[in-house]
C-alpha cells in the first residue's frame, strides 16, 4: 500500500479531492486567512442627542464640504466660466456657473400638511410607491438665494439634496436656463495600504429576513458553507480565504416587528412571546455559528431593532448574546465604511437607494448606486425624506474618500458593475438582493475586485421544480 504523505501548512491552498478510497488520511484543516482591517465608522457614530437643531446646518455643511471640489471640477469642465452666487445673477450676464444644492419641488411628496388634511375631510393621500410626477421641477439653492432651473436638466434624474454646479444663463422670466451640470470629481483612491498578493474574499449578504418561524435552511446552508462544513476540500479551502462576512441589514424580517403586538393589552399577550424576540433568538443562533469561525460585521437595517434615523447605531451586543460572546463579532453602523485587506468598503443597508428609487425616475438599483457615486453623496435625500440626525458642523454622508467597493443591501436583484473615475479610480458597485427571497449572496475578491454570485438552493421535489426561488 502506497502511503502518500501530503504536506500541510498554514497557507495551504489546494488539494485534489479524494474519492474516499484512501484509508489513512490527514483531514483537511485550513487556517482562515487573516486580513488587515480597520473600521472607519467613527464618522457615523452619533455623538450627541440634540434634536433641537434645524436641518439647515446639514445642508450648509454639505455644500461647504463639496464646494472646493465643485469649483475645481467646474473650472476644468467649462473653462473660464465665472462662478457666481445666485443672488448675483442677472439677465445681462453672459454665461455663468452657479454652485448650490438642488431642491426638487414635488407635488406628490408626502407632506405632513397633507396628512392632516384628513381632519378637513379631504381625501387622504393614497399610499404610493413612487412620488414622481411630470410637474416636478428643480430649484438650485445656495447660501443666499434660490433660482428655478430649466433647460438641459431633467428633474426626474435628480433628487433633493444633490450638490452640483450648473452653467447657463438667467432668463427674462427669472429662471435659470441650464446648459450643463457638473458634479464633484471622485476623490483619488488612496492606495497606501498593501493589497494582498493572495486571493482573499469578503462575503456580503443582506436581508436574511429571519422571522419567528421561517425557513432557515438556505441561511444554514450559507453558514455551513462559510464555516467549512459543506463542500469538497477544494471548496473548503476556498472558503477559508473568506476573511470577513458582512451582513448588510435587515437580518430580521419586516414581519417580526412587533407593532401590532405592542398595541394589544398586556394581559392578552402575557403567554405569547414577542415575534421579534423569537426572531432575534434564531438570528443569534445562526450568527453564533458564523462568529465561531469568521469575523462578522453586522449592519443594522430598516427592520432591525435599532434606531431608525440614519446613521443607524450598531445592534446592541445584548440582543445577540451567543454571537457577541466571540471576539469576531462586530456590530457596525449603517452606513458602513472600513478598510479590509487593502480595500476601502463603503456601503449601506439600502435605505438610501430605496429613497432614490422613490423620488426619481431611476428604476435600476445599480444606476441609483452609480448616481450616488457620481454625486459624491451617500444619502442626498437625507434629511428631507430619509430621516437623519440634525448634524451641526458636518455631513458624514459625503463621499470624500473614494471607496473600492460601494454596496447597497436589500435590493430587488443582484447587480454589479465596475465604475471608473476620471483619475483612473476603479470602484466596484454592488447591489445585494434580499437573501430571504433570493438566497443569493456575493463573494468579493479583495485582490481583483471580482465578484462571485453564490446562489444557494435545493431541488427536492419529484418533478424537478426548484424548491427555492432562483436568481
Amino acid at each position: 500500500m502506497a502511503l502518500v504523505v501530503l504536506l500541510f501548512d498554514a497557507q495551504f491552498k489546494f488539494q485534489p479531492s479524494l474519492t474516499g478510497s484512501m484509508q489513512l488520511k490527514e483531514e483537511l484543516s485550513v487556517e482562515r486567512t487573516a486580513a488587515l482591517f480597520s473600521y472607519e465608522t467613527a464618522r457615523y457614530q452619533l455623538s450627541g442627542r440634540d434634536f433641537s437643531r434645524q436641518f439647515y446646518h446639514v445642508y450648509s455643511s454639505r455644500l461647504k464640504a463639496v464646494e472646493e471640489r465643485l469649483r475645481a471640477a467646474a473650472a476644468e469642465k467649462w473653462g473660464g466660466v465665472a462662478v457666481v452666487a445666485v443672488s448675483e445673477l442677472d439677465e445681462e450676464r453672459a454665461e455663468c456657473a452657479v454652485i448650490g444644492t438642488l431642491f426638487k419641488q414635488q407635488q406628490l411628496k408626502p407632506s405632513i400638511l397633507k396628512e392632516i388634511s384628513e381632519e378637513h375631510n379631504l381625501m387622504p393621500q393614497p399610499p404610493r410607491e413612487r412620488f414622481i410626477s411630470d410637474s416636478d421641477h428643480l430649484i438650485l439653492e445656495d447660501e443666499g438665494a434660490r433660482i428655478r432651473l430649466e433647460g438641459n436638466i431633467d428633474p426626474q434624474q435628480y433628487v433633493n439634496g444633490v450638490v452640483c454646479a450648473v452653467v447657463g444663463r438667467e432668463e427674462v422670466s427669472g429662471k435659470f436656463k441650464v446648459r450643463d451640470v457638473c458634479f464633484p470629481d471622485l476623490p483619488p483612491q488612496t492606495v497606501d495600504r498593501p493589497i494582498p498578493d493572495n486571493d482573499s474574499y469578503v462575503l456580503l449578504v443582506s436581508g436574511l429576513g429571519l422571522e419567528a418561524s421561517g425557513n432557515l435552511f438556505p441561511a444554514q446552508l450559507l453558514v455551513d458553507l462559510v464555516t467549512g462544513q459543506l463542500g469538497s476540500e477544494e471548496e473548503q479551502t476556498e472558503m477559508a480565504a473568506v476573511t470577513r462576512v458582512i451582513v448588510a441589514g435587515n437580518s430580521l424580517s419586516a414581519s417580526s416587528r412587533d407593532s401590532q403586538f405592542l398595541k394589544r393589552a398586556a394581559y392578552l399577550t402575557s403567554d405569547v412571546a414577542g415575534q421579534s424576540a423569537a426572531a432575534v433568538r434564531s438570528l443569534d443562533e445562526l450568527l453564533q455559528q458564523l462568529t465561531a469561525s469568521c469575523d462578522l460585521d453586522l449592519m443594522p437595517g430598516e427592520f432591525d431593532p435599532t434606531n431608525h434615523l440614519l446613521p443607524q447605531r450598531p445592534m446592541h451586543p445584548c440582543l445577540l448574546p451567543k454571537a457577541a460572546a466571540y471576539r469576531t463579532f462586530h456590530g457596525v453602523t449603517n452606513p458602513y465604511q472600513a478598510v479590509v485587506g487593502g480595500r476601502r468598503l463603503l456601503g449601506s443597508s439600502g435605505q438610501n437607494v430605496h429613497d432614490l428609487y422613490r423620488y426619481s425616475a431611476c428604476d435600476d438599483p445599480l444606476t441609483c448606486l452609480e448616481r450616488l457615486l457620481t454625486w459624491g453623496h451617500l444619502c442626498p435625500t437625507a434629511p428631507d425624506t430619509l430621516t437623519c440626525y440634525p448634524y451641526y458642523d458636518k455631513d458624514p454622508f459625503t463621499i470624500d474618500q473614494c471607496p473600492d467597493l460601494l454596496f447597497a443591501g436589500n435590493q430587488t436583484k443582484f447587480a454589479t458593475k465596475m465604475c471608473r473615475g476620471s483619475q483612473g479610480q476603479r470602484v466596484r458597485l454592488l447591489c445585494l438582493p434580499e437573501f430571504h427571497r433570493t438566497a443569493t449572496c456575493a463573494l468579493v475578491n479583495l485582490r481583483t475586485l471580482g465578484v462571485r454570485r453564490i446562489t444557494l438552493g435545493s431541488a427536492l421535489t419529484q418533478n424537478g421544480e426548484e424548491a427555492q426561488p432562483e436568481k
Partner: protein, 476 residues
C-alpha cells in the same frame, strides 16, 4: 480506523432503520466526533452498502456546487442540495462542478428542506459550538471573550449625555438631588439588566454611606415612572421653594408615585379642578420633607389610601414645623394651632388644590392675608367663617356678593365675607370641603375622603367662575 469505521457504519445502520432518522453528514460528524469530510465518506459508504443490499427504501440527498454560466461582470456559483433523482439534471446546469457529496441519508423521501433543517435542530441547539467544531476551517482569532470583556461590551452605553434628560425633570435641583438624578437616570436608561444592576449596585454602595439619600434614591427610582409629574412639580415649585432641601424634592418624586395612584382614583372626582389631581400629587409631595417617612409612605401607599393619608399627616406635621419662609409653611403654621387631624387633612387638600397655580398662589395668598385681617368680619358670617378661620389661619375672608332666590321668590343680592385662600378656583373648593369635614369631627380619614373628593369637585365647579372674577378685583 477500519474497525471504527465498521462500528460507525453499524450505528448508522441502526439509526437509519430503527430510529428512522434523517442522518446528515453533520450529525455523523458531531455524533462520532469525526471530521466532516470523514463523515461524508461514511455516509457515502453507508449509502453504498444499502444500495448493495438492494434496499430501495433508502434515499439520499446530495450537495452539489459549481460554477454556472458567467454573467456580465461576475461569476455565478450555485450551491444546491438535491435529491438523488435531480442530481443529473442539476449537474448538467453547472459548467463545472466543484463539490459533490452526500448530504443526508434517510429512509423516506425528503420533499422539503425543513425536514433537513429540522433533523439536526436539537443537537445543534444543545451544543452549537461542539456541533460545528469538526469543520475544515479553523480560526485562531475566533475565541470567546473573557467575562470581563463581555460585561464591558454589554455595558456599552451610547455616548449621548444624560444631561438633556435632566432639565426636563429638575431644573432647579440642588446638588445632591442633581447627583441623585443622573444616578437614577443612568439606572433607568441602560436596557440590559446586568449593567443596570451593576450601576445600581455601585450607586447603592455609594449611597450606603448616606443612609438618608439611599431611601431617597429608592423613592425616586420608584417615582421615576411618573417623571412627567415630577417635571410639572419641578416647574410648579421652582418659584415657591427656592432652597428646599433636596430630600423634600426627591421625596416628592417618591411620593408622587404613590400619590399618582390615588390621583388616578380621584381623577373623575377632581377633574374639574384643572388638573389639580396630578398637581395635587406634585404639591402634596413636598409636604413631606423628611426622607424616612417618605420612604415608608410609598410602601404604605399600597395598603389603603386612608392609612397613607394618616402617615402623610404624621410626616406632614413634623415637616411643616421644620419648614419656614414659604407661604405654605406660613399657612400651615398658622393653622397648626388647632393641630387636629381634620385640619391637616384640610391643609392637604388646600395644598393640593393650590398647587395648580402655585406661583399665583404664592402671590395671591400673601396679599389676601393682610387684607381680610384688617377687614372686620361681619357677625352674620362669623359662624360660617369662624370655624374655618379658627382651624386655618391661612384662610382669608373676601367680600363676595351672593345672589340667591329667597322664599318669596325674590332675587336677593347680599354682600358677605367668605373665607377663602388666595387662589381663585381652589379656595372655594377648599373652603367648602373644610366645613364639610368638620362635621365628622372624628378624624376618621376614611370619612372625609369620600366627602373630600366630591366636595372639591362640586365646590370648585361653580365657585371657579365667580371667585375668579372677585379675587381679580380684590387684589386691586
Amino acid at each position: 480506523m477500519g474497525t471504527d469505521s465498521r462500528k460507525i457504519q453499524e450505528e448508522l445502520q441502526f439509526l437509519l432503520e430503527e430510529d428512522n432518522r434523517v442522518i446528515t453528514y453533520k450529525f455523523v460528524s458531531a455524533n462520532f466526533g469525526i471530521h466532516v469530510n470523514d463523515a461524508k465518506r461514511q455516509l457515502q459508504s453507508l449509502l453504498g452498502a444499502c444500495r448493495g443490499r438492494g434496499d430501495d427504501a433508502i434515499t439520499a440527498t446530495f450537495y452539489l456546487s459549481g460554477l454556472s454560466e458567467e454573467e456580465e461582470d461576475c461569476v455565478a456559483q450555485k450551491s444546491l442540495v438535491v435529491s438523488e433523482d435531480q442530481l443529473t439534471a442539476a449537474r448538467s446546469s453547472l459548467t463545472s462542478v466543484t463539490s459533490e457529496h452526500v448530504f443526508s441519508v434517510q429512509r423516506h423521501r425528503v420533499r422539503d428542506t425543513n425536514v433537513l433543517y429540522g433533523a439536526d435542530l436539537q443537537e445543534r441547539q444543545a451544543d452549537p459550538a461542539a456541533f460545528n467544531s469538526h469543520g475544515a476551517i479553523t480560526n485562531v482569532r475566533a475565541e470567546r471573550l473573557s467575562e470581563a470583556e463581555l460585561l464591558k461590551a454589554r455595558q456599552v452605553t451610547l455616548p449621548a449625555a444624560p444631561a438633556p434628560a435632566q432639565p426636563a425633570k429638575r431644573p432647579a435641583a440642588p446638588a445632591p438631588a442633581a447627583k441623585k438624578e443622573p444616578s437614577a437616570a443612568a439606572d433607568e436608561q441602560p436596557s440590559s439588566e446586568s449593567p443596570a444592576n451593576k450601576q445600581k449596585s455601585k450607586e447603592d454602595d455609594h449611597n450606603k454611606a448616606e443612609a438618608a439619600e439611599k431611601g431617597k434614591s429608592a423613592g425616586k427610582s420608584s417615582g421615576k415612572g411618573s417623571g412627567n409629574i415630577a417635571s410639572m412639580f419641578a416647574k410648579a415649585n421652582t418659584e415657591k421653594k427656592t432652597v428646599k432641601s433636596p430630600p423634600k424634592k426627591a421625596a416628592g418624586g417618591g411620593m408622587m408615585a404613590s400619590f399618582l395612584k390615588k390621583g388616578a382614583d380621584q381623577k373623575p372626582s377632581s377633574e374639574s379642578t384643572n388638573a389639580s389631581a396630578p398637581a395635587a400629587a406634585a404639591a402634596a409631595a413636598p409636604a413631606k420633607s423628611t426622607p424616612p417617612p417618605v420612604k415608608s409612605e410609598p410602601s404604605e401607599a399600597d395598603k389603603t389610601e386612608t392609612v397613607r393619608f394618616g402617615a402623610k399627616k404624621g410626616a406632614g406635621g413634623g415637616a411643616k414645623g421644620a419648614r419656614g419662609g414659604s407661604a405654605r409653611g406660613k399657612r400651615q403654621r398658622k393653622g397648626d394651632s388647632g393641630g387636629s387631624e381634620p385640619a391637616k387633612q384640610r391643609r392637604r387638600i388646600q395644598v393640593a388644590s393650590d398647587s395648580s397655580e402655585s406661583s399665583d398662589d404664592d402671590g395671591g395668598r400673601e396679599e389676601p392675608d393682610p387684607e381680610p385681617e384688617p377687614a372686620p368680619p361681619p357677625v352674620s358670617d362669623g359662624e360660617e367663617d369662624a370655624q374655618p378661620t379658627q382651624q386655618h389661619g391661612k384662610r382669608k375672608r373676601k367680600l363676595v356678593t351672593k345672589t340667591f332666590v329667597d322664599d318669596d321668590g325674590f332675587m336677593v343680592t347680599k354682600k358677605e365675607y367668605e373665607s377663602c385662600s388666595g387662589s381663585d378656583s381652589e379656595e372655594p373648593a377648599a373652603k367648602n370641603s373644610a366645613p364639610a369635614r368638620e362635621k365628622p369631627a372624628a378624624p376618621a380619614p376614611a370619612a372625609p375622603e369620600p366627602a373630600k373628593p366630591s366636595k372639591p369637585k362640586e365646590a370648585a365647579h361653580h365657585k371657579v367662575k365667580q371667585a375668579g372674577i372677585m379675587s381679580f378685583f380684590k387684589k386691586k
